[in-house]
């Protein structure tokens, strides 16, 4: 169970990181497109 908790916590942090990364990439892409226009 301790191992499962350690893996869950690591996974949770990574998931939040991935969600944040996707969001920031999306926003920066929109900024770049607007800049090109």
């Amino acid at each position: 169970m301790e191992l499962a908790i350690a893996l869950f916590l690591g996974f949770f942090v990574m998931l939040m990181g991935i969600i944040s990364y996707r969001q920031i990439c999306k926003e920066f892409k929109q900024m770049e497109e607007k800049q090109k226009k």
């Binding site: 301790e2 191992l3 350690a6 893996l7 916590l9 942090v13 990181g17 944040s20 900024m31 770049e32």
Partner: protein
């Protein structure tokens, strides 16, 4: 005069002198309330972590871990570090973009509402005053135990220090001294932890010794006599508290208000990544070392004193003085942040003063008033204070979280929805906390104030928004928030920010490896 008291006195005088020096460069209300909006990443990181780490980390959190609640506690603190990155990307950078002086001002502008602005200011002032009281009690207990000096004199000295510091130098001084204090207590604590672990025969040996003494300490369920009688309930508690503190780190006034001072939006995002790493490092190392102090349980006077006792008895005196002065710095840094924010909200949102000079003057008066109130409560220390102390973190989440999210990401939420959501969340959460504490009731986990307050907020938000319609000013205010300022477009800066956020994913891997190697493996080996 003992050496610990001398060290603490010198550090307090140094903070006051520093505050006076910084105050000389202060020109206007922007400097006083938001440090001129010119703060670089390292200052925002320093202030985020220092505001978070009060005496609660060294005494409260460490005490919980020492007392048998290690794993549920560990879950909450690791989850909460995600609040930084989520908060900066989905809330903080929009807050920075609004160019408001305070978060209540942001709400007021976004929903074109004076009553919402005042309500937000009141909830912020109440929760931060309460939090400050707990910090004061922590400082008093620490100084009294370490120095033997009278408790009331200790809190008076600390109060004088952080009141003068905040009064003269405002947010600018708070930001700089926070960062210095953060560096001070982080470095001294880490060195002390290395020394303590060395004395215990190394990390693995120390975990083995403590596990042999009490196998429950590092187990997933913790001590079942501590809070809930079953492991599952402890896990539910950990997840609920973890989510509460994800919200506190994301939108809590003493955390997200730091973003108002950032130089630009890239600084907001990058600082959140490094703050998460800093909080994880401190929240893992200090409470885990506190668990290892169970080896000396016969000599430690109480769970909150575990790490303080270690700093006094297991490390060389000079290092002990530095660590304990660092703990004091952690308390003072949190108190200065609360105090400066209370002053800002008082002048800017409650009194709604436009004139710059008057605004700073009234902000300072607000700081003085709250200092006197806090001193009064801390001095007389009525038993009800313990009830009030339980309010802060959860109440601010239940009052603000759904409104913060909706203010950026919803086109449907109206001023009434935001107002009643905040009001219902505040009342429901406070009521459950007070009823549970005064009546000494053991409410089931699903009636936790976090769940009740959050549901009440969302109900208020939905009903209020359904019954009213959005004004043109609200639509325009939200549209304005979606316009990225031209200065933010800089390819090099964007690339660094992208890498910083990606580093957060790497931090997730580090967490896994760290927990497996530093907790799971040595614990399994010891069983």
């Amino acid at each position: 005069m003992n050496i610990y008291f001398l060290g603490m006195l010198i550090s307090m005088i140094a903070y006051i002198v520093l505050g006076l020096v910084i105050s000389k460069g202060m020109k206007n209300a922007n400097d006083f309330f938001v440090a001129g909006r010119q703060a670089p990443t390292f200052l925002i990181v320093g202030s985020l972590v220092a505001s978070y780490c009060s005496t609660g980390l060294f005494m409260g959190d460490a005490g919980e871990a020492y007392g048998g609640f290690y794993t549920p506690f560990l879950m909450t603190v690791i989850m909460q570090t995600c609040g930084y990155i989520l908060g900066s990307i989905f809330w903080g950078k929009y807050l920075r973009r609004s160019e408001a002086l305070t978060i209540p001002e942001f709400f007021g502008k976004r929903f074109d509402s004076v009553r919402l602005r005042k309500l937000a200011a009141i909830t912020a002032i109440v929760t931060m005053t309460v939090y400050m009281l707990s910090v004061m009690q922590g400082i008093g207990t620490l100084m009294n135990y370490v120095t033997g000096v009278n408790y009331n004199l200790c809190i008076l000295l600390a109060l004088i220090t952080f009141t003068i510091l905040t009064f003269v130098s405002g947010s600018k001084g708070v930001l700089i001294t926070d960062t210095i204090m953060f560096g001070f207590f982080t470095i001294s604590s880490i060195i002390a932890i290395f020394v303590i672990i060395g004395k215990l025969g190394g990390w693995y040996q120390a975990v083995e010794t403590v596990t042999n003494l009490n196998p429950v300490l590092f187990s997933w369920h913790g001590d079942l006599g501590h809070l809930y009688p079953t492991g599952i309930e402890n896990m539910v508690w950990a997840i609920a508290t973890g989510l509460t503190w994800v919200s506190v780190c994301a939108i809590g006034p003493w955390q997200s208000s730091r973003y108002l001072m950032a130089k630009n939006e890239h600084v907001v995002i990058r600082s959140s990544v490094w703050a998460a790493l800093g909080v994880f490092m401190l929240e893992f190392l200090i409470p885990t070392t506190a668990v290892l102090m169970n080896k000396y349980s016969a000599e430690i006077p109480g769970s909150s004193y575990a790490m303080i006792w270690a700093a006094k008895n297991l490390v060389p005196t000079v290092l002990g003085v530095l660590v304990l002065t660092g703990v004091l710095a952690a308390g003072i840094s949190s108190a200065t942040t609360f105090l400066s924010l209370i002053g800002s909200s008082f002048a800017n949102d409650i009194l709604n003063i436009e004139d710059d000079v008057k605004k700073v003057k009234m902000g300072r008066i607000g700081i003085l008033i709250v200092s006197v109130i806090v001193m009064f409560f801390a001095y007389f220390n009525p038993p009800q204070i313990y009830v009030i102390l339980l309010l802060s973190g959860t109440v601010v989440t239940c009052s603000w979280m759904p409104v913060c999210v909706a203010s950026i990401w919803s086109k449907k939420v109206t001023e009434s929805g935001a107002f009643y959501g905040m009001l219902f969340g505040f009342i429901a959460c406070s009521a459950v906390k007070i009823i549970g504490s005064v009546g000494n009731l053991n409410l089931p986990i699903y009636l936790d104030s976090f769940f009740v307050g959050l549901v009440a907020n969302i109900i208020g938000l939905i009903i209020g928004s359904k019954l009213t319609s959005i004004s043109c000013k609200e639509v325009d205010a939200r549209k304005k928030l979606m316009i990225v300022p031209k200065d933010e477009y800089n390819e090099k800066e964007m690339q660094i920010t992208r890498w910083s956020v990606l580093a957060f994913v790497g931090y997730g891997m580090v967490v896994t490896v760290f927990l497996v190697l530093m907790w799971v493996v040595p614990y399994y080996k010891a069983l």
